[in-house]
Symmetry: C2
DNA sequence: ATTGGGTATCGATGAGTGTCAACATAGACG
DNA sequence: CGTCTATGTTGACACTCATCGATACCCAAT
């Protein structure tokens, strides 16, 4: 399902007052990254050779398997990761729009 | 007392697997930005002329005054904002290290 | 069809969070 | 002093969340 990939959005955070709408969209993205387990999962996917990683490659983060699955789902729902099943394994990769969205939001040069 | 300003930290999120320690530090920062009200407060401070804003300038975000104060405290504790009282008013500004920390974490070179 | 390993969902639980009304504090000014 | 305005703190409540064990689902191989 990967409910409404929310990421592609939003003006630079320092450019002016955020609208209620943009603030809510950005909050979804930041909330997805606000947990240490999710950050480690995301960084493992992002830094994996080939740009994608099997769950079995990244699930060693100190919590149980259901919890890993739960966090991956949240990253998916936030639009940060995409998943694809190929045979026995499920592969995750960073959603294409994320890179652009992040650097746009944090356009920190004046 | 602005408990332990946690922000200055951390390698790029895509550079490799995050350590448990770095992940926890980054999570603190993202968690502080994971609420729409806090995002709007932060952006109002960041975009305010002169680099600082009185609470009275930014407190119109749709929640009560105690709630505004509560969110500003969280942003302070996360090391994102600093505050200074001058006479009747309290002024907030973006913590100096935050800009560098953010762009370091999100070094998204294509 | 059955077995087995990889992954997702369900249900429960304890911890954490956003919100407000009420109260407290701090400074300015008479 | 007392009062007024600007912020911060406290306590309570409803709500969300991270976590796990148990279970279900998916697919390959036997």
């Amino acid at each position: 399902m990967d409910a409404g990939a929310v990421v592609p959005c939003c003006p630079p955070i320092t450019a002016g007052e955020l609208s209620q709408d943009d603030a809510e969209k950005m909050a979804v993205m930041f909330k997805a990254l606000s947990d240490p387990v999710r950050l480690r999962l995301f960084s493992k996917v992002a830094s994996h050779p080939g740009g994608e990683a099997c769950v079995c490659d990244i699930s060693d983060v100190g919590v149980s398997q259901p919890t890993v699955s739960h966090h991956l789902k949240k990253l998916r729902e936030a639009g940060l990761l995409t998943s694809e099943r190929r045979g026995t394994w499920v592969y995750y990769r960073v959603a294409p729009s994320v890179v652009a969205a992040m650097s746009a939001m944090l356009d920190l040069r004046s």
